[in-house]
């Protein structure tokens, strides 16, 4: 069971940052199941690791 959402006090700093959030990415993720979201994260993390390693090799 999902608990009821609770009220959060507004925070002007967070609200300012919220304007720059790319909501299209969030909307795409919300179409996925939790497991699909996790597997997508895994792909991103693997890709970033490959980039990091490629960068390191190119500097050697």
């Amino acid at each position: 069971m999902v608990p009821e959402p609770i009220a959060l006090d507004p925070d002007p700093v967070i609200d300012a940052y919220k304007r720059d959030v790319d909501r299209t990415l969030l909307r795409e993720n919300l179409k996925l199941t939790p497991e699909q979201r996790l597997l997508k994260l895994q792909d991103v993390v693997r890709f970033l690791a490959e980039l990091r390693d490629a960068g390191r090799r190119s500097r050697q």
Partner: protein, 161 residues
């Protein structure tokens, strides 16, 4: 260089060992729909003797070690270590794992339990902190580095309606 964290391997292992834990942090945020990359798994674990024993047995084959510590320290993640400590930032052969006995803004496993929901991951049921609980934890931590992540979580909350 260490390979990236294998989220599936770590979580499947914990789930199949029936460790009582709650997913928090970046992985929990991703499960709710966050688009921010994260590199470790953060869990709040129940500190009962039985559960800590399950946790130790489950993680031992992954050679857990203190993340960022010099090699060669006499560290072993055994029941005694777990009992004497509370929060551990570990590296394992399946990636980075943070074991949290308590977390700022949410307390212990039992404190956090009412603010969780269950999700199905890899054929098993996993307990995950609610989006609201994640927001409260990040707000309570009060770290400047979390502001962008917090803004995204709150935007996500609005998108979910």
């Amino acid at each position: 260089m260490r390979p990236p964290t294998d989220f599936r391997a770590l979580l499947s292992r914990l789930l199949s060992a029936e460790v009582e834990f709650i997913l928090v942090g970046g992985v929990a945020a991703n499960i709710h729909g966050s688009a921010r990359a994260t590199y470790d798994v953060d869990i709040v674990y129940r500190r009962s003797p039985e559960n800590m024993s399950r946790l130790v047995d489950c993680l031992s084959p992954l050679q857990p070690y203190l993340r960022g510590a010099p090699s060669g320290l006499p560290f072993a993640l055994d029941l005694d270590t777990l009992r004497r400590g509370l929060n551990f930032t570990l590296t394992t052969s399946a990636g980075d794992l943070d074991l949290l006995g308590e977390v700022t803004g949410a307390g212990s496993y039992d404190d956090l339990l009412p603010a969780t929901e269950t999700v199905t991951l890899f054929g098993a049921t996993c307990r995950c902190a609610t989006l609201e609980a994640l927001i409260r934890m990040k707000r309570a931590a009060g770290r400047p580095k979390d502001i962008e992540a917090l803004a995204e979580l709150e935007a996500l909350r609005e998108e979910r309606g």
